[in-house]
């Protein structure tokens, strides 16, 4: 009887705790997190920081956070991936301190872009990629638009193999799609095709499907399973993106609500440090934003630095 009572008490408490945690969770997190204190004696950082957003940026930011935490043992940085929309929404409502996005906040509906401060931490270049058997390595931009809008349906029209063109798109709201449509297709709406979100899945499909064309970030061209296309004769290389000759690239943004403070500022500074920009970024397949010779605004206007 006694042990049963204890058990029932424990169960009741457990149930209560789950209930209370479930109810209170949403409201309390943003108050406790993001508090950071500078320890006056040592100057070391402490506190916790929550980062959310673009799943494409997650590996980079998580790797940087790991090194950051190794250098500042009292700091706890959590990096979640939920998509750019989620990251921007959460940073705008203040539930995370940093929201990652692969598009400008201005391009997303319902985000108070004027309240958010943009920190461009990296650049990612992307280009059209085809199944190796298609047999072309270079494509004119006008032809690329015709391919993606369905006006050209067979690769032989472009001097390739006699294969039907199979489009592999990204979801409507995807940042990768937005960038590719804007800078590679000059704003044309692509025809309907297979739609996949994950770059790895896209690469797999391109490799396995005869006549397939899609688009991938440079970091996925590590082997010869897919062929990266040069556009108008400009090869998709780091140098060409940095000099502004290759048009299809985008910033990876870290947004803060208002100017970054304390821990968020320290972490963003760390991301911009030469250490991260020159080594970690390269390892993860990104281009350092510090070496860009051109810059771009939210409308897509490009100018030399």
């Amino acid at each position: 009887m006694k042990s049963y009572k204890k058990l029932s008490l424990a169960l009741t408490l457990a149930a209560l705790m789950v209930f209370v945690a479930a109810c209170g969770g949403g409201a309390s997190t943003d108050k406790n997190e993001g508090t950071s204190n500078k320890d006056n004696k040592t100057g070391a950082l402490s506190g916790s920081l929550t980062v959310s957003g673009s799943s494409a940026m997650q590996p980079l930011v998580a790797a940087a956070a790991e090194e950051f935490m190794a250098e500042n043992p009292k700091v706890d940085v959590q990096v979640n991936a939920g998509g750019s929309g989620t990251g921007l929404s959460q940073v705008a409502e203040g539930s995370v301190q940093i929201g990652n996005s692969d598009v400008f906040a201005e391009e997303k509906e319902g985000i108070p872009a004027d309240k958010l401060v943009d920190h461009k931490v990296a650049v990612v270049g992307m280009t059209a990629a085809v199944n190796p058997k298609v047999g072309i390595k270079d494509i004119k931009k006008a032809d690329l638009i015709k391919v993606f809008t369905g006006k050209i349906t067979n690769w032989k029209e472009l001097g390739g193999a006699d294969q039907k063109i199979v489009l592999v798109n990204r979801p409507d709201s995807s940042g990768t799609r937005a960038v590719f449509n804007k800078f590679a297709l000059d704003g044309a709406t692509p025809a309907e095709g297979i739609t996949e979100d994950s770059s790895n899945t896209v690469k797999k499909i391109l490799n396995e499907t005869e006549g397939a064309i899609g688009y991938l970030a440079f970091s996925y061209f590590t082997d010869d399973t897919v062929t990266a296309l040069a556009i108008d004769g400009v090869k998709p290389t780091e140098e060409n993106v940095q000099s502004g000759q290759f048009p299809v690239w985008a910033y990876q943004h870290s947004y803060t609500k208002g100017e970054a403070t304390d821990l968020a500022k320290a972490f963003l500074d760390y991301l911009m440090s030469d250490d991260i920009q020159n080594t970690l970024l390269k390892e993860q397949g990104y281009l350092p934003v510090t070496k860009m010779k051109v810059e771009r605004d939210a409308e897509g206007n490009q100018k030399d630095l």
Binding site: G110, P171, S173, T189, E192
Partner: protein, 306 residues
């Protein structure tokens, strides 16, 4: 040895203790029920308000949403919000997979209960339990790696198709159908079988003419439950169906379902935007459909009692 108290005294004395335990247990169980009920109700309310926002706040036409085949929410000049291809895709894969899984599942159940109750069950039961345990992402990945290329090379089309989605879903709902069908068959009273045999019916005649009709309402429940699961499945389907927003014209055409469009787009959209709200509306449709499935199951099982 101490003399034992009479049972009557003992019970009277410990009445307080007994009552305490009784009340505590009561509260515990009521609390569990309240949490479950309030969770369901709050999800329904939340999804209801979120899902209706695109029609009320953003002025998307409900008629357009469920009848138009044009889905183009990111087009700045003229956004279109027709979810019919996804609704159609959801229903198509659900019914097709039920058509495949129902005979298989019920056949397996008959095999386990009537043909080989001892060794058949010993083999089939763990196999089915194993099928339940495999996560849906694994089904999807196997489908993407094995099924899609197979269909592309041996059947035709791109491989990403309604057919692939149907096959993956059939395997996923097979355990649900088989388990409930097995329960239905084995809970039939023994005298049904014995009576039939006594009348000179063969085993197959007994199964076909007596047992299946007797268990039919529960067998239908099994199929509907399987369909409810198929309707809500997202991940595995997304990996093999191709996610094309055109209405499919054949089994080999790529298609999309409500769930795949939600999972593909949810993370990219911002809270409160029209696109995000239309995704919630699709979620609401899924919820309404699952209510419809539950009503259907209720109706079927009430028929059984009569």
């Amino acid at each position: 040895m101490e003399k034992l108290e009479p049972a009557k005294d003992r019970l009277l004395k410990s009445k307080k203790n007994w009552l305490d335990g009784e009340i505590r247990g009561n509260i515990l169980v009521i609390m569990c029920a309240v949490i479950m009920i309030s969770a369901t109700i709050s999800i329904t309310i939340f999804l209801g308000t979120k899902g209706l926002q695109s029609f009320i706040k953003n002025g998307v036409s409900l008629i357009e949403f469920i009848t138009s085949t044009h889905w183009n929410p990111t087009n700045q000049a003229k956004p279109e919000y027709g979810a019919l291809p996804f609704i159609f895709g959801s229903f198509a894969v659900t019914f097709l997979s039920a058509i495949v899984a129902a005979p298989l599942g019920i056949g397996g159940a008959i095999f386990m209960t009537e043909i080989a109750p001892s060794w058949g069950r010993k083999i089939l039961q763990p196999v089915i339990e194993l099928l339940v345990g495999i996560p849906s992402v694994v089904y999807g990945f196997i489908g993407l790696t094995v099924l899609v290329p197979f269909i592309r090379e041996h059947v035709g089309g791109l491989g990403f198709s309604l057919l692939s989605g149907t096959i993956v879903l059939s395997i996923m709902i097979l355990p649900t159908v088989t388990t409930i069908a097995t329960d239905a068959m084995s809970s039939l009273p023994k005298n049904l079988r014995e009576g039939s045999y006594a009348l000179g019916a063969t085993r197959w005649q007994t199964i076909r003419k007596v047992l299946i009709p007797a268990a039919l309402p529960t067998l239908l429940t099994a199929i509907v439950l399987g369909m409810a699961r198929a309707f809500g499945e997202a991940l595995a389907v997304q990996m093999v169906i191709g996610n094309v927003r055109d209405l499919p014209t054949s089994l080999l055409d790529a298609s999309a379902t409500l769930t795949t469009i939600i999972t593909l787009n949810m993370g990219h959209t911002t809270y409160g935007s029209i696109e995000n709200n239309t995704l919630w509306s699709m979620g609401l449709i899924l919820l309404i459909m699952s209510f419809a499935f539950i009503l259907l199951i209720r109706y079927l099982s009430s028929r059984r009692k009569m």
